[in-house]
Amino acid sequence: MSDHESTYVPKTGIEKWLDERLPIIRFGADYMALPTPRNLNYWWTFGAILTLCLVVQIATGIVLAMHYTPNTELAFDSVERIMRDVPGGWLIRYVHANGASMFFIAVYIHMFRGLYYGSYKQPREMIWILGCVIFFLLIATAFLGYVLPWGQMSYWGAEVITNLIGAIPVIGEPILIWLRGGPAIDNATLNRFFSLHYLLPFAIAGVVFLHLWALHQVGQSNPVGILMPKDSRSKDYLPFHPYFTVKDGFAIILFLMLFAVFVFYNPNALGHADNYIEANPLQTPAHIVPEWYMLPFYAILRAIPDKFGGVVAMFAAIGVLFILPWLDTSRVRSMRYRPTMKKLFVIFVVVCLGLGWCGAQLPDANVIPGIGGGFTLFDGDINTYLWLTRVLTAYYFLFFLVLMPWVGLKETPLAVPASISEPVLTGETEQKG
């Protein structure tokens, strides 16, 4: 918290000299000494994991850009040249490609954690909103990056996603042409996507700085969800270092092991085979799907029979996150003490995974095979992914727009402890998070 007193004492003459002019060591030392709620569990380590992901993506991305050629004639071959001829290039490229997936695994867990423990609630609204901005920038960056290898999925993904903008009435078409730099996805598009893909991660880093600034202003949330004592010497706090650096470090090592299994043993498992076919503007692959981390939003897009309506629903699915702090009417932060909301939350997690699954299926395919041509509702058989997606989409929005405000007013939460040391001392503790 920003109001905790600085404990840094410059030791040498040089440190003292520097501290009077540019207190950068003090800044770092105070950061490390930050009073942190002692009961943070492993779900809280994903912040550090995400910082690592950003650093890994920027570092590998910068060196990949030294070999990549953003030209429609050369892009595909230049990526494969990195894989074959550049010393260790296969490693850097596979780390970057799988790093995107790892980034999203971590960011989704981080977001679900924030949702479960009410980390978006007063006074942390700005942290949450800045987090939503980061998430949006992350999706944009990942989309732009996926276009660069210029495979079939790159090209058709770019075609479909830019066409979403064309769905906006009146101004959509001119914006679409402006964005692509021509009537179709072509060299101009690839060039600017490369430029923006290089730029956006630094914008993300900037917003991450604001995200942390806001975090240090109000202090971290915690699993119990109560406001922390003002006195930073309270035994509810532990200094960030060494307690949480080592905890985050341990979690990072576990995460890196998962990362390594993908990079070294299944480097293409999270990608799509069609992206190893060079882009062909005259032929769409039989079954186009976005990367796994976009699938829930893609499913929502397809759930709506109207083109513009689908685009609105998809953006609303992200947009609703921004106003979440004002949709939740509960006075209790942590869902640990909200039994009804906790059940609805578990359903919500399943619904999000279900939407992801539906996004990978053909909309007309049967959910339960063998029972075809059954009951038709409006424009489709009820036993299709189309209808399953619609039901799940309905719950997605219902959860935020109806259940959040309504349950918060109606439910009776369990008794919330007065301080975090209370459950800690009485032994009613969680098992290692």
Partner: protein, 178 residues
């Protein structure tokens, strides 16, 4: 500092505010003028806009099939329709259509066997596959739009018919697109 306040106080308060607002507005204008070229550069470049037209020899298409050519970076379907397909397209009542347009308005008079359309699904731009779907025209694999033998949208999320590009007949067997 205090001196300045006294001097400022001399003038008419409204006039004094105006000069600050005008200066601020000029700054905003200068900023906008600087940003505009940075935005404008993303519009299609001169070589991209130079509307390249292409000639196509219709004898390359056999009856009941289509040829796909590339024009302005997009696929264009040239389809030689069978008599049965033409009849089907012409007899469809306009009331059955999502984007009503008569078949006669989508081909050139006297050449109704040749249908020329831009091969981008009007939903999200995928290339529909030939001869499939419920209406015998095209079927878009991405999100399941069905087009009939006149390239008109019949079922699925696409809002419009396949676009007929500007083209003209140079002779009975040759067209110029663009």
């Amino acid at each position: 500092m205090t001196d300045q306040v006294v001097h400022d106080g001399d003038g008419d308060p409204n006039r004094r505010d105006f000069i600050h607002i005008a200066a601020g507005a000029a700054a905003v204008g200068a900023g906008a003028a600087c940003v505009w070229p940075l935005i404008n550069q993303m519009n299609p470049a001169a070589d991209t806009v130079a509307l390249a037209s292409i000639d196509f020899d219709l004898t390359k298409v056999s009856e009941g099939s289509q040829v796909v050519i590339r024009w302005q970076g997009k696929p264009v379907f040239v389809r030689y329709r069978t008599a049965e397909e033409i009849q089907e397209a012409e007899q469809t009542p306009l009331s059955a259509l999502k984007d009503p347009q008569a078949d006669a308005d989508r081909v050139k008079a006297g050449h109704d066997q040749y249908l020329v359309v831009v091969g981008s699904c009007t939903h999200l731009g995928c290339v529909p596959t030939f001869g499939t779907g419920d209406y015998g025209g095209w079927f878009c694999p991405c999100h399941g739009s069905h087009y009939d033998t006149s390239g008109r949208i019949r079922k699925g999320p696409a809002p419009k018919n396949l676009v007929v590009p500007d083209y003209e007949y140079l002779s009975d067997t040759s067209i110029r697109i663009g």
